[in-house]
């Protein structure tokens, strides 16, 4: 639903000189079914993912949540699959975008400029499953002109949670609004995160409140080279794994 994140991820990585491929046969990592308990349905999807990506040196994905599924849940989901070994190997070569830049490649300066006030929401799976607390912040601190404003309870979940957002709409909405309160208290122009799904949910919550704060994926901030202004990030994030 949010292709711009994919586009911006590609832009940043290309600018840094990486040779990219986007296997067009890719679909989904399987998380929606997996997290709803449909492991039987998630398994063929995960196997498809492993087949499509097995020849890549490194897989970079602009979603901490998808990466945590591949890294932490595939070993269990595919424990009895003929693709088990390939899944384990793939898991060790799959990285979240900021993780790849900062942890793997030791890059924090990507030559980006974004003269705006920004607050950062620590998406749960990136933070707690992948242990990415500092990596996105390190990248943000190097962005020219960007002023980072810390929000309270930045590590509390925004309330998306996949099918949870629909099955328990009232709880998800309330959690989203609490997060939006934290965002609003910073008066930042943008709220950023490393997970498109959090941003899609927050964008809707903020939109409904007619909040002036806009959502933007980390990759889209880093994609900005000049001091030009971005519009409301409507074509935002995606589940693509470029």
């Amino acid at each position: 639903m949010l292709p711009q994140v994919g586009v911006d991820t590609v832009k940043v990585l290309r600018r840094l000189g990486y040779n990219l491929d986007y296997p067009e046969d890719q679909t989904c990592c399987g998380q929606p079914a997996l997290n709803t308990g449909y492991w039987g349905e998630a398994r063929p999807c995960a196997e498809h993912f492993v087949r499509v990506f097995k020849n890549a040196d490194v897989v970079v994905c602009p979603s901490g949540s998808c990466v945590s599924v591949i890294r932490l849940l595939y070993p269990e989901l595919l424990a009895h699959s003929p693709l088990r070994e390939e899944a384990l190997s793939l898991a060790s070569r799959t990285f979240e975008f900021s993780e790849f830049l900062v942890k793997v490649e030791a890059i924090t300066q990507v030559g980006a400029s974004f003269p705006h006030t920004v607050t950062y929401h620590a998406s749960c799976h990136g933070l707690r499953e992948l242990g990415l607390r500092e990596e996105p912040l390190k990248l943000l601190r190097q962005v020219d002109g960007l002023k980072l404003i810390e929000m309270v309870r930045s590590e509390e979940c925004c309330g998306f949670g996949g099918t949870f957002a629909v099955k328990f709409a009232d709880i998800s909405g309330a959690m989203g609004n609490s997060k939006a309160d934290s965002v609003a208290a910073t008066s930042a122009e943008y709220v950023t995160a490393i997970d498109p799904s959090c941003l899609m949910h927050l964008d809707g919550i903020l939109g409904k409140r007619q909040s002036p704060t806009r959502t933007i994926h980390l990759a889209s901030i880093l994609a900005n080279e000049g001091p030009k202004n971005e519009g409301r990030q409507n074509d935002g994030p995606t589940q693509a794994k470029p």
């Binding site: 292709p3 679909t27 399987g30 308990g37 949670g161 957002a165 709409a169 998800s172 959690m175 409904k208």
Partner: protein, 473 residues
Amino acid sequence: MSTAAQRFLQDAAIKSADLLHREVIRRGMDSYDAAHLKGRARIKDWEAARQRCREIKREAINHLDRYLLQFEEKVIARGGHVFWAANSEEACTYVKNLATRLGVRTVVKSKSMVTEEIRLSPALEKAGIKVWETDLGEFIVQLRDEPPYHIVTPAMHLNRSQIAQLFREKLDPAIDSDDPVDLMAVARRKLREAFFAAEMGISGANFLVADAGVVAISTNEGNGRLCTSVPPIHVVVTGIEKVIPRLEDLAVLWPVLATSGTGQGITTYSTLIGGPRRAGETDGPEEFHVVLVDNGRSALLADAEQREVLHCIRCGACLNICPVFRHVGGHTYGTTYPGPIGSVLTPHLNGIKEFKHLSFASSLCGACSSVCPVKIDLHHHLLQNRRNATEAGATKSSERAMFRIWRAAMGSPSLYALGGWTVRKSLRLLYALGLAETFLDPMRVWNRYRSSMPLPSESFRAKWRKNRAASSS
């Protein structure tokens, strides 16, 4: 949908929209957060302490049979009695018969979640026995005829003026202060009478120490010690998973429990009890009984995948950090154990069909697992419960059908692309026809709390193709 699930959804909607309630909880949790952080900083290596606690509990749970027997032997040798209760009914009957046989008319209780689980107080009251909760929080919720709101802080949802009002109604119409010190004095006077009238004291246990054969109890108000030493009979009611191998294990478990529970270095009273009063001793009960409650725990023990759920030391940290708990509050769960541990445990203890919804009522954010002092992978167990519920055919047939379609689409790149295209186009058409927010709009639940999702004109795949075509031409 089970009635428990329906009630949960209704209550969750009400509570999560109740800003006043949310504010009370938020304030309570903010002060807990600060104390917890400070407490953790006092422990030199918090992660190492957690790991050690996990190993201790793991060892205990994996050799539960041996350690429980060791504990029992020591208690019996000191003149105590041990009763193994397979379920709530057996446990309640044992205590009730004991009370009736010894002519007990008044019971004082210190805090125990297991007695809530087995519904002991109602069983005793039915037999005409008066039961006093003596933990201040428990005393308050008992007066309100409510279950505990939280496993550590049972009355955290009430402010002092509500408590003053309650005391005026139930205890003394002359109360004219809502100062906590004054209110405490009122409760204290009332409870003193109960302590000295009671013929039986009932407590829970935080740990059962196998090698020493003693019960370890942590409390903050001193009521625990009065319950266990003043009345002539003391009954400990506890779950079989509370056993730990060695006395020295308390050196790490006690401070870690206190830190996780309230941020304290150690609770105000840390008590070890091993049996009835011995010759020459000045206090302690004449009779000492331990009721070891199974009530579904053995079945969980048999489940290799989820056995570690029995490591829980009921510290409440996972409730405190849980964003769902913070928004819906403790009573909404409708279970003895609320919050993440309750959502994991209840389907095991009370049935997956009836309580599976709790395992789905989570964003799987993992905050619970990150604080649990015995490192239970709580959110992963929620996920496994979901899988088990689905495999048991306990989910809706419409949902099952939807995921079958999803599976077909995800296995085929062209179907996947077509699916994405169809969704974008049909939603566009629907909205162009002015049918947004009608029953035809699949996004109406989403849109209840969110502005409508922007629909991109083309997918990333299409953009990628165009870009590649442009750069190669």
